[in-house]
Assembly symmetry: C2
Homo-oligomer: 427 residues x 2
């Protein structure tokens, strides 16, 4: 029989008792941020559950990890504490357990309608790295910019390629994204173009939230790497393709990316995702020993991107992809990141890179979907090559279980116009 909560959960909900993703929220605009888990249309306030002494296992009994403005302390505790929290919360929320169910006063204080709370970044992100782990995405970018001969660089098959991203401009789902200004390629003998980006794009990604870190100089073995990953979020790595194309030689993307990156508010744990583990694709050439996993897996997470075009009301789905398409697994990514001794810290974010599938309908960004703007995409009542001011982009992700979902909710953001530079100069 499927585990059930006393909290009513709609069958389509992303957040049944099998999921229990972690986030950080404010009950009211003036209140302190605190950790919570999602259950159906409600958020359970973990600071109050801890205050009531209901985390009574050995790892969490005397911990203040839920009396914090972010989840860094909790994710840093590691898998035994995560398992204990999950067991405690599944029991507490189950329909057969009276402790919370029949405590009206605590239930009314601690279970808050999700629509009423404000979600915040779940972790303080020290460093954010973004990988390039989808072969379909790498091939498409290569075909567009280098042609079929050398579509994928030779290093790509040996290295989970990545770059350092900007941590300061990571924002929570629902935050408006200001169209960035920047330079684009010069034409003929003129100066480079300067102004609002003309090729603003989304990138459909997921990101791993690092749990316990590693000391500087001590790499993480690929076969224990999963113990350093707390869970996953959806991520939109907004990209200004014109800025990126002109700036990226030879040091990689910089201002083409750093104006904003959106993540979803709920971290879905690897424990909740375990039923959806899916064999990773075979890797040929075989990876070097430090990247060779005894058990190499992805997760079967259906991903979707919709756009609500400016001035319209309805969302149009523009792509359907899946995390299982990744070539380099998230555990290989983490092991590679540390092989040089680089230290990770709790709360660090590791983006997967754009998750494109094999078919054109599964490409993970407009660059690929419109082949660099050459083929406009039909949306209901309009078309797009790149994003226009007022467009809202919504990422969703969900695993379909037997009678329940384990979902990620939404990761959304609306484009607003570049403000006049005059104002900016006076600031």
């Amino acid at each position: 029989m499927v585990l059930k909560s006393f909290v009513e959960v709609h069958p389509d909900s992303h957040f049944p008792i099998q999921n229990l993703p972690y986030g950080v929220f404010k009950p009211e605009p003036g209140s302190e941020p605190r950790p919570g888990v999602a259950i159906g249309d409600y958020v359970l306030d973990l600071s109050l559950i801890a205050l009531a002494g209901l985390f009574d296992g050995p790892y969490l009994k005397n911990s203040d990890c839920f009396n914090q403005p972010n989840l860094n302390k909790f994710v840093g505790l590691g898998r035994p504490a995560w398992k204990e929290a999950r067991t405690t919360l599944q029991k507490l929320l189950s329909d057969s357990e009276p402790t919370l169910r029949d405590n009206t006063s605590l239930r009314q204080k601690a279970l808050l309608p999700m629509v009423k709370v404000q979600m915040l970044l779940p972790v303080a992100i020290g460093d954010y790295s973004d990988f390039f782990a989808s072969k379909h995405h790498a091939r498409n970018c290569g075909l567009m910019f280098r042609g079929p001969e050398n579509a994928i660089n030779p290093n790509w098959f040996h290295i989970p390629i990545a770059y350092h991203g900007r941590a300061s401009s990571i924002v929570i789902s629902g935050t408006d994204i200001i169209r960035p200004r920047g330079q684009g390629h010069p034409t003929a003998n003129s100066l480079p173009y300067f102004g609002p980006s003309r090729k603003l794009d989304f990138e459909l990604e997921m990101a791993a939230v690092v749990g316990p870190g590693n000391e500087l100089g001590k790499p993480v073995d690929v076969n224990v790497s999963a113990d350093h990953i707390f869970g996953l979020v959806l991520m939109n790595d907004w990209s200004a393709r014109d800025i990126q194309a002109w700036e990226y030689m030879p040091l990689g993307p910089f201002l083409g990316k750093s104006f904003g990156t959106t993540i979803s508010p709920w971290i879905v744990t690897l424990d909740a995702l375990e039923p959806f583990a899916f064999d990773a694709p075979e890797q040929n050439p075989p990876p070097l020993p430090y990247l060779a996993e005894k058990n190499s897996k992805n997760y079967d997470i259906s991903l979707q991107v919709s756009i609500i075009p400016a001035g319209h009301e309805d969302a149009c789905t523009v792509t359907r992809s899946n995390l299982k398409h990744l070539y380099w697994t998230i555990t290989q990514q983490l092991a590679h990141h540390t092989i040089n001794g680089c230290n990770l810290r709790p709360g660090d974010l590791l983006g997967t890179g754009t998750i494109s599938g094999p078919e054109p309908e599964s490409y993970g960004c407009l660059l690929e979907l419109t082949w660099n703007g050459q083929k406009a995409l039909s949306l209901t009542g309009t078309t797009r090559t790149f994003l226009e001011d007022g467009d809202e982009v919504i990422l969703t992700g969900c695993c379909k279980g037997d009678g329940y979902n384990v979902g990620f909710g939404e990761c959304s953001g609306k484009i607003i116009p570049s403000p006049p530079l005059k104002h900016v100069e006076l600031s």
Copy 2:
């Protein structure tokens, strides 16, 4: 007459009363980190000066900015507070002012011999970016890897090129640097090389410490950009050239850099550097308007790198350069960084990139000095192409004033061997 302190300061000292650089230290291993300024061979404990009520100006009187484990709060206050602190401290330390000079008890508690304290990172660094602002360095790298036709990429003359670096692995001067493992180019049809880097290098850089930040979406005007820079430190951007060369296409340097970056402990303020301002080189083509400065300046800071080779006792100077060689100024770097709306936060670090001068004796890294290992460098009693285990690299920087120096002290690190990977796998 030159301003003098009651603290005896040797004429060669980097830290006379004209300098007063800020750092963070622990008086003893068990004590709390706290801010200090350097004066001669002493450190003045600012937490005690604040506690004694000696910061009595309007900005600092009621601030707890010196009762903090880092300088982030102080640097975030902005130039008026920095000026007030400098005026207060120069008065307090001057030979004509009795307040501290004649207060034996406070003096003995607050003025500690520098050799006895432990220096720590002066700021918590949220994000670290590294520029590529020396034309000589850019040209040399281009000549080596692309040949004379396209030595410098066309974008370089329009954009202060940069990449995001790794914040977690920034360490304080004196920290050992563990030789990173990683992949190098495959030969013929074999797998890529894997093992300890064979081309470990230093990079002579300086870095700006960001003061007040800017909001997401609000660029900083290049002509007020200096008000967002608290001061400068020396920086050694250790680089594994073999790892970097194999990984950097197409997303830029990653593991070739992220194993460690060393900074010097003392932040020298722009106010202390002002007497050493130096006209920046003319820029041709002219920069776009958002990068055009009314008054474009570098600082005349003599820089030097010495190596103490493994098993030797004496340091050999391997290069002499100067910050004044930078093509893109630090204020242009900061303005460019924010033109897309990217937000900077107090304590962020902006590296200049390798500072090479025009002559071969002024190149800022072994890659250039040995022309990618083709010409070994003669040191006393030995030679080097790249760094060997046990080598210690020491960066110094100093401005020569009329009867005094404004110096940066040292930024040093010793290479230790990669630990066995066996141990690492068990961790």
